[in-house]
């Protein structure tokens, strides 16, 4: 069993394009669905608000670790237990953090992007799927509910 998530994805776009989509705060915000206050700077905290419909009350907070042009972009972010509107505090000061890394490699047709998120062994036990995470955790739950509903009504 692993304490990390790893995803490799082929993108049909040059490394320079992918790098910009990852590290330009406005472009990042567009696909990630977050309204960031300012540019990513190594060693500095990036702040903003999630723009995903229904979750606009969620804060984005990450500490930028590394920006090695067209190679590596990484940050750490905290995981809080609850993303429910009622109980969400937005306080990440004591939240256990994981490390997110985006690695870029040029390929024949574009870019190989490797995403890893590691450090889940730092998280307490009660982190479950019901802990709405970031922008679309709620949707995961909804999909499951729909699946269950469909399966039950067969």
């Amino acid at each position: 069993m692993s304490d990390r998530i790893e995803r490799r994805i082929e993108l049909k776009a040059p490394v320079s394009r992918v790098w910009r989509a990852l590290t330009d705060y406005r472009e990042f915000g567009e696909w990630f669905r977050v309204n960031l206050e300012g540019p990513f700077v190594e060693g500095q905290v990036s702040r903003g608000m999630i723009t995903y419909p229904g979750y606009e009350y969620l804060k984005w907070e990450a500490l930028v670790q590394k920006m090695e042009p067209e190679k590596l972009f990484s940050f750490t972010w905290g995981h809080v237990k609850s993303f429910d509107r009622e109980t969400y505090t937005g306080d990440y000061s004591n939240a256990p953090a994981t490390l997110v890394e985006f690695r870029l490699e040029p390929t024949k047709d574009g870019t190989l992007l490797t995403l890893t998120e590691s450090g889940f062994d730092q998280l307490p036990d009660d982190f479950r799927e019901e802990a709405f995470r970031r922008n679309d955790g709620g949707w995961t739950e909804q999909m499951k509910n729909i699946e269950k509903h469909v399966a039950n009504s067969k």
Binding site: I9, A21, L113, W139, T140
Partner: protein
Amino acid sequence: MSPTRNSAAGRKRIDHALLFAALGDETRLALITKLASGEPRSISQLTAGSKLTRQAITKHLRVLETAGVVRGVREGRESRFELDARPIEGLKEYLKSVSEQWDRALGRLKAFVER
């Protein structure tokens, strides 16, 4: 956050680190597999077919017990061990949900850079 919740979270966090450490060993993973049927097993049963001694197996079982994935149950003069999969399941579910969110975010990134 109240102090009680804080300390509870702190305790659980240690458990989780222990859990990863406990599962990062082939012998212990093999023991988990043997216990996965749900039947409590004695140390003799768990030692059978293994090259390891009873003492060594007992040691590994204690590690799993400390991590909270295995429970020792006394039955008469013998100790039996059973699996408590809840800590593993909880973590797996959370990792799965985070993975799914990354899949969707990366899908949006792909559409964004390829358009």
